[in-house]
């Protein structure tokens, strides 16, 4: 009897152990899906914790919710310049394969009978058979391919969004850095395909995307003669024009749109045969500062400031009570002077006629 009980307990314990191990091994739900665990409402904290534990043990109810966008958040995407250019290619190939297989087999059939007695006459020479096979394979192919192929290259322009991001932060928005874009072949999502990138999760649930598109990035170097001197002015000028669109990531409506341009220049005065090495850092600095000034102006006009105690707008000037002045000292002298003074002079301006 006791033995049976022991066996039963061992068997039961093993079952429990297996079941527990089985539960530990089950995979956790994926992090990307938001899992909502509904705790049972209770009055006291202790009860809550106890009940939560219970809920966790008993396999929680998992419901997937839609991605919630972070309110007042803007993801500032980087700028890419896409260059499509057609290339003419011409391939000429000559393939020739030559194979030579040769088999030479010799099969000696030795039928030697060992003569124990050793008479020469009885010994026969061993019979030999040999076969030789040769395989020759050769093929020649000639191919000529020509045509045009389109090469798409993406060039990233960095460094222009720093000031814009800081302006947006000061205006009270949450600025989100999107995932970097890496183009993998022709089947990949295009950098301007916002919906595709948003679905892929590049923008991390930002409510808006501030997308910049480079309209024109130009660099030119000139040499001009200066009138009245014997010198020439050598110039290196860089300019960039970017179009910004503020797009809602849910409805893909354009909330606002503006264009910002920047200009940087380095100049050198010299004679006809001077060598000019432009200072690229100076050009970049000037370009950035002019770009930022323009961006500041445009953003202040287009994107509303979230802060309640935002600064006074340009058109309104707060007047102190003291700046109005002491009214008792106010003096009004005649009418203000006219622009064309000569016609109205006789009536308004003092004229003196000298007596004899």
């Amino acid at each position: 009897m006791i033995k049976i009980l022991k066996i039963f307990f061992v068997f039961f314990g093993a079952l429990i152990c297996l079941s527990v191990m089985g539960q530990i091994g089950t995979p956790l739900p994926p992090l990307s899906d938001i899992v909502e665990v509904k705790p049972n409402e209770s009055k006291s904290d202790e009860n809550k914790t106890l009940k939560e534990e219970k809920v966790v043990d008993a396999a929680p109810q998992v419901t997937l919710k839609k991605n919630v966008k972070i309110p007042n958040s803007i993801a500032v995407a980087e700028f890419y310049i896409r260059n499509d250019y057609k290339d003419f290619f011409y391939d000429e190939k000559l393939n020739s394969n030559f194979k030579l297989d040769g088999n030479a087999n010799t099969n000696p059939n030795v039928n030697s009978v060992a003569v124990l007695n050793g008479t020469e006459a009885d010994q026969k020479p061993p019979a030999q058979s040999s076969t030789a096979t040769v395989n020759i394979q050769s093929d020649v192919s000639y191919s000529k391919n020509y045509g045009t192929r389109t090469i798409i290259s993406y060039k990233e322009i960095r460094g222009l969004t720093a000031q814009i991001k800081s302006m947006l932060i000061k205006a009270g928005y949450q600025v989100i850095q999107p995932a970097p874009y890496v183009h993998n072949g022709a089947q990949d999502i295009d950098v301007n395909n916002l919906k595709g990138r948003s679905d892929r999760g590049d923008f991390y649930d930002a409510a808006f995307v501030l997308q910049g598109t480079v309209i024109n990035a130009d660099s030119r170097r000139t040499r001009e003669f200066i009138q009245g001197t014997t010198d020439y002015s050598y110039k290196q000028e860089n300019s960039i024009i970017v179009e910004f669109n503020l797009i809602d990531t849910e409805t893909f409506q354009v909330a606002s749109s503006f264009t910002v341009s920047g200009f940087g220049r380095d100049m050198y005065l010299g004679k006809v045969n001077s060598t000019f090495t432009p200072r690229t850092d100076k050009i970049a600095r000037e370009l950035l500062s002019s770009f930022n000034q323009d961006a500041l102006k445009k953003i202040q006009e287009e994107i509303p400031n979230l802060n309640k105690d935002a600064g006074v707008s340009k058109n309104t000037i707060e007047k102190d009570a003291t700046s109005i002045g002491d009214v008792s000292t106010l003096k009004v002298y005649g009418k203000p002077k006219q622009v064309d003074g000569q016609e109205n002079d006789d009536k308004k301006n003092p004229m003196t006629v000298y007596k004899k």
Binding site: K337, G341, D345, N349, P350, M351, T352, Y354, K355, K356
Partner: protein, 126 residues
């Protein structure tokens, strides 16, 4: 009693009347002779009219002259003074008077700058 009252009134009114008269006297314009400075012998030229006006804070002068004879070469110029009677804008060049004998004509001058508050018309001969 009445005398006293009249006296009191007069005492109050009298200085006011006198000051008003004085102020009016001060604001009357100087004569042409005051504004003209003749050097050497310039009796052949007679100034008929002289007037000045402020055009956008700058002085403009118009002088009407009559020339009796042209025995002597008469030249003229204007001297400009600021409100403190200091000469401003330096001395002008002497300009020969080109009005013919027995004729009358006008000379107009515009101040060289806004600092000129008054002027003097200068005449000289060879």
């Amino acid at each position: 009693m009445i005398f006293k009252r009249i006296n009191m009134k007069l005492c109050k009114i009298f200085p006011i009347v006198i000051s008003a008269l004085l102020i009016s006297a001060c604001t009357s314009n100087p004569s042409i002779d005051d504004m003209t400075s003749r050097m050497r012998e310039t009796d052949e030229v007679k100034v008929l009219d002289m007037r000045s006006i402020l055009v956008n804070n700058q002085l403009k002068v118009d002088v009407s002259l009559q020339v009796k004879s042209t025995n002597k070469n008469i030249s003229y110029r204007f001297a400009w003074y600021d409100k403190n009677k200091f000469q401003v804008y330096g001395a002008e060049a002497w300009k020969p008077l080109t009005i013919g004998s027995g004729q009358s004509g006008n000379i107009q001058a515009f101040a060289p700058g806004p600092a000129a508050a008054s002027f003097k018309f200068e005449l000289t001969s060879d």
